[in-house]
């Protein structure tokens, strides 16, 4: 479902890492920390953003 695109909206935390000098271990830990931080923020939110994978026309042929 998503959303059609929303289902796929980018996370609110910018996790794009372009600095190739950053050690791989740090990249992984940065990503995990970003996901953990998102969970912390959502704890107090009323609705969970369900990410629907709308199978689209693809898999969906049609739909």
């Amino acid at each position: 479902m998503s959303e059609p695109s929303d289902q796929a909206s980018k996370p609110s935390v910018d996790i794009t890492v372009s600095n190739l000098d950053v050690p791989r271990e740090n990249l992984r830990e940065t990503l995990i920390a970003a996901i953990d931080a998102e969970l912390e923020r959502q704890e107090t939110q009323e609705m969970m953003p369900i990410d629907v994978h709308l199978k689209g026309s693809t898999h969906l042929k049609s739909s």
């Binding site: 289902q7 992984r28 369900i50 709308l54 049609s62």
Partner: protein, 407 residues
């Protein structure tokens, strides 16, 4: 807004207050210009599309918007998403689509955050469509399976001709117009996943949703015989490693973000896992309110609710007694075979349509159970989080949420 705090008298399973639906999927077209061999809409177990209008009427579209507006007002929700879907939704034509987007934003003006999206096969996108998407701030999902040969193996028109070239032309138009777009890509076991991912990333996708092939326990045997015990995990694990080790660089991959969320003790944000109430509904071209459309792989009419936007509010779904109401409002019971599984609180049985068999209904683990266990075991090992640690984090979060709720 207190969702489901007080049950209806005599029906403890039915909430007294309407609950928010985050997404309304509008099936504005019930036909498609492609004829993909794996399509759950036209080439599986359901043929109800034959009796639907090819295009949603203006009257039905407006009735849908009115019902959505009433529902948002009743729940007090400040955010809602509308997804134009099909069939192939671009069959409605750019002028009508443009007008419908304008009407949607106008009629839902009281809702603070209204998101519009479309899921399309991409073959009909040209400069006109791209401009309409950009002007109406429509997020676009396009179906791309991989490089030309991979894509054209399945995604063909009604004369058997591949669709890759026309799609790539359309993606160019989206890029030129500044439209945000992403890809749905159906996993094909046995293919080189990294090559496919690099190709999709190179096209400029903002996100990639990898879709698990749709099978039930009645149809999976041939896949296993040909590709082995865990063909989807075999496909996804190299991608997961690439994603994790690069810090999530490249297109956003919701599947992996969600797996990581679950391993870290969060709730699922994707219907593949977690057995959460889905809280979104479909409206067919004739106005019928339906549940998950992929239930079509299980049999005829599985998603029917008996309701339609011309005569019913969305809030009536809760008391409809339909399978869809259960999936949307509560989530199904955990399959009995999952009770002692180490991933029973993360996977929780998997994607509902994939649990189905004629013999046992939905009371079986996903047909992709072995793949899911393999993927989660791998993710845990790479992230350094055991199942016990997930449970500890989950319990801790639940306590904090309860404390917040108590004020």
């Amino acid at each position: 807004m207190s969702a489901c705090a007080v049950p209806v008298a005599g029906r403890p399973d039915v909430p007294a207050d309407p609950v928010p639906f985050g997404l309304f999927v509008l099936k504005v077209a019930s036909r498609c210009n492609l004829n993909c061999d794996y399509c759950y809409m036209y080439n599986k177990a359901d043929s109800s599309w034959r009796n639907k209008p090819a295009i949603m009427s203006e009257e039905t579209f407006d009735a849908t918007l009115l019902r959505i507006r009433r529902h948002c007002a009743a729940t007090g929700q400040r955010s809602v998403r509308l997804a134009f879907h099909g069939g192939e939704p671009t069959m409605v034509g750019p002028a009508r689509f443009d007008a419908w987007c304008t009407r949607a934003r106008s009629m839902l003006a009281d809702v603070e955050d209204v998101g519009l999206g479309i899921q399309t096969n991409g073959t009909r996108i040209d400069a006109v469509w791209a401009e309409v998407f950009a002007r109406n701030d429509v997020r676009v999902g396009v179906s791309v399976d991989g490089v030309r040969d991979e894509h054209d193996r399945h995604r063909v028109d009604h004369r058997g001709r591949g669709s890759y070239d026309s799609i790539v032309r359309g993606l160019g138009e989206l890029g030129a117009a500044g439209v945000t777009w992403g890809v749905l890509s159906v996993i094909e076991p046995g293919r080189d996943p990294l090559s496919t991912h690099r190709h999709i990333a190179g096209l400029g996708a903002d996100f990639v949703n990898y879709l698990w092939p749709d099978h039930t326990h009645d149809t999976i045997a041939g896949v296993r015989a040909r590709f082995g015990r865990t063909p989807v995990a075999d496909y996804l694990i190299p991608l997961f490693d690439q994603w994790l080790e690069s810090g999530g660089a490249g297109p956003h991959v919701p599947e992996f973000w969600n797996v990581a969320r679950l391993v870290l003790g969060g709730r699922s944000a994707h219907e593949n896992y977690g057995n959460e109430p889905s809280r979104y509904v479909f409206v067919e071209t004739d106005g019928a309110i339906e549940g998950l459309d992929v239930l079509r792989i299980c049999g005829e009419g599985m998603g029917h609710t008996g309701l339609d936007v011309l005569s019913s509010d969305f809030a009536e779904l809760a008391a409809s007694g339909s399978l869809s109401a259960a999936i949307i409002m509560r989530g199904l019971p955990l399959p009995s075979g999952c009770a002692s599984c180490v991933e029973r609180t993360t996977c929780a049985g998997g994607y509902v349509p994939h649990r189905y068999s004629r013999a046992h209904g939905f009371d079986s683990p996903s047909v992709w159970c072995a793949d899911i266990l393999e993927l989660f075991a791998h993710a845990r090992a790479r992230m350094g989080v055991t199942a016990a640690e997930t449970a500890r984090r989950r319990d801790e979060r639940a306590r904090r949420i309860a404390a917040v709720a108590r004020g």
